[in-house]
Amino acid sequence: MSEMKDMIIEVVERIFKEKVEKETVDLLEANQWAEDVWQLILENEIHQVAVKEENGGAGGDYEDLFHLYRLVGKYAVPIPFVEHTLANLILEFININPHTELSTVHLAAKPLELTAGKVSGSLDHVPWARYAQKLVTLATEKGTQSLIVVDLKEAHIENHTNLAAEPRDSLQFTDGKILASHPLTEEQHEFLTKLQTAATVSKMAGAIDRAYELSVQFSKEREQFGRPIHRFQLVQQHLAVLAGEQAISAAALENSIALLQKGEAGDEIAFARLKLDDASRIVATSAHQVHAAIGVTHEHRLHHYTRRLWAWRDEDFHEKYWKKQLAKNWLNSSNTIWDVLTKKKQVEHI
């Protein structure tokens, strides 16, 4: 873990706590976003956290960055922080200088088609495209997969949103100019899917943190039948279930990041994603049940977190995708489950 982590986390959490009111999150529904919070991020150079020092960044690591993603989830911050920083992280991975202009990234779709340096095709559910200048995505040319960078001015953009009112736009390219391209090996592509997945897991873990906290708090404050509701066994059951899922999700995230950081992330990123899918369902269900009618109103902030969980679990590389990948891995593997969990093969190779 980098030394500056605690400090950055503290600073950013303070910014989010102070600046991200309920009304701030609601901005998305009026087709606006928290531009002031984004300005603060830029001013404090938080968006540079994981950018290498030689590229003008702060030289942080995956742990720093993914912990910030968790905070973005925890405060439902309506800014393209994850998208912009992930785009830059990926550019650095293939040795392209990070962008200063607002960028976004979209990997989990049918790739665009690349022909003689021009790109065509359509992409759905691209996050924040309407506000961004640059897009990092995939394209294929004669069966070869490349990572490409394209100016979003080249795209016809149609605005859409996900279940949480976050921008998820449809793009149409017709012979668009690309700014850069870089062929990807299968291993590189797989690594990028893991990176994207870990980012989603981080956001989800943050939203789970918050839905859990709101539920505990509500159960202390709310009275029914003459006593605080946390005195009822059935509410205690919900709290225990929520505490369990929160702890498991946090542990899944921390272990995923630690493995990524060590360069040892195998199937664990997929495991984390599968577990967070489950946890999202359980947490959203229990948190709403604890909050009862009050929690399903727009006025209460619980839905900022549950709607994000419902949206995020079906975005990017999701449960269905990873289950299929894992099944393929098992099919041709002589490793048992226990070998995989205890990373026996790695020991053998030392």
């Binding site: 859409h160 049940q289 109103t297 727009h298 209460h300 419902w310």
Partner: protein
């Protein structure tokens, strides 16, 4: 618990066919769009009047009030078909389901003659005023107060979570007509309040999607004439309880997300996904099972039997099933839930997912129902 089985008669099957054909034609005409949870979130007064023209509001009521004196099994069939196709029936729903039966049982001749024909024509919608701010599941802790004055009552207080009050003309309102004592279930009465009266303010409570289905309704010295007292003064709690059986065992407690299940099956058939079809069959089996139960309760209800516990049971199990549908379907298909998606399955999935939390809260939380069911089986 053993409930009767119901085999529909040929006439009933033909009635179902008639309703289905009509609704499919209206759907194709574009009169409405299929939605999940449409019985609560799909209020369309114009559509309700179309339904009224068919004679399908208050269809079980006596002919003298405009009803058709049809069986409650016919009404059950009608309701099922509304839900299966996801038709927007919320506007007249509460008057048809609860207010009509309440007035027929407890209402004065004046009330029956005045309200029922209007309801049947789709000209008069009702809301139900039960919950109050901060009362939550503790329904008996009613603070809204009616004080006796010459010729009527002056009401002060507030009701909350009143579905569809924005489109309703009247509200059956549970109020305290006697000072509160140790026994908080006593001294409550049901008043019909004209929502256009002076002193009534209706403000929307937006659902988490931003939609407007619920309302706060405030009463500031609202005058309610004596003839708007339903049944016996002080007997409001018992009268209200009788309504709950109608409210809890109906097909709307198992079919709120049916359009999604149906569309998912069609999608899996198109994809010839044999493994997905095997898995979704489990949900169909569960629906068949729950439907047997719900119809069984309807049958007991028609025969005048006691269904408090079994209705609570249908709601408790049925709403969990409604919630389960989106959770299973999303893993069987490639989906991207969006309220305005082009693809029906994505739209229904979004509606189902976003509305699901309410299923196990509205009309009695699952936690409250567990207690009712347990007490029932322990006594039985």
């Amino acid at each position: 618990m053993n409930l009767p089985t119901v085999q529909f008669t040929k006439e009933q099957e033909l009635f179902r066919e008639e309703v289905r054909t009509f609704l499919q034609q209206e759907l194709q005409k574009g009169t409405f769009q299929t939605k999940c949870d449409s019985w609560l979130s799909g209020s369309d007064p114009a559509f309700s009047r179309i339904i009224a023209e068919q004679g399908w509001i208050g269809m079980t009521w006596p002919k003298e009030y405009g009803g058709a004196e049809r069986s409650s099994i016919d009404r059950y069939i009608l309701t099922e078909e509304f839900l299966a196709i996801g038709a927007p029936v919320a506007a007249h729903w509460f008057a048809d389901r609860q207010t009509g039966p309440l007035l027929l049982r407890f209402g004065t001749d004046y009330q029956k003659n005045f309200f029922l024909p209007k309801i049947v024509k789709g000209e008069c919608f009702f809301a139900i005023g039960l919950s109050e701010p901060n009362s939550g599941s503790d329904l008996a802790s009613v603070k809204t107060k009616a004080e006796k004055v010459e010729g009527g009552w002056i009401v002060n207080g507030a009701k909350t979570w009143t579905s569809n009050a924005q489109d309703a003309h009247y509200m059956v309102t549970l109020v305290r007509t006697e000072p509160v004592t140790e026994k908080k279930h006593q001294g409550l009465s049901q008043l019909i309040i004209n929502l256009k009266s002076e002193g009534v303010t209706i403000t929307p409570i937006r659902y988490l999607t931003g939609e407007h289905h619920f309302n706060d309704v405030f009463f500031d010295n609202v005058f309610v004439p004596d003839e708007m007292v339903v049944g016996t003064l002080g007997n409001g709690w018992a009268q209200g309880l009788a309504e709950l059986a109608y409210e809890r065992s109906g097909p709307e407690r198992i079919l709120s997300t049916f359009p999604l299940l149906n569309e998912a099956m069609e999608e899996l058939k198109r994809q010839q996904d044999i493994e997905g079809l095997a898995q979704i069959s489990k949900l169909v089996a569960e629906l068949w099972s729950l439907r047997n139960l719900s119809i069984g309760v309807a049958k007991v209800l028609e025969e005048g039997g006691e269904v408090g516990v079994s209705a609570a049971l249908v709601k408790s199990v049925g709403t969990k099933f409604e919630q389960k549908i989106p959770e299973i379907v999303r893993l069987l298909l490639d989906v991207y839930p969006q309220l305005h998606a082009d693809r029906a399955v994505d739209r229904y999935l979004a509606e189902s997912t976003l509305h699901a939390p309410g299923f196990t809260i509205r009309g009695g939380t699952s936690e409250v129902l567990y207690g009712i069911i347990a007490k029932g089986v322990l006594a039985g």
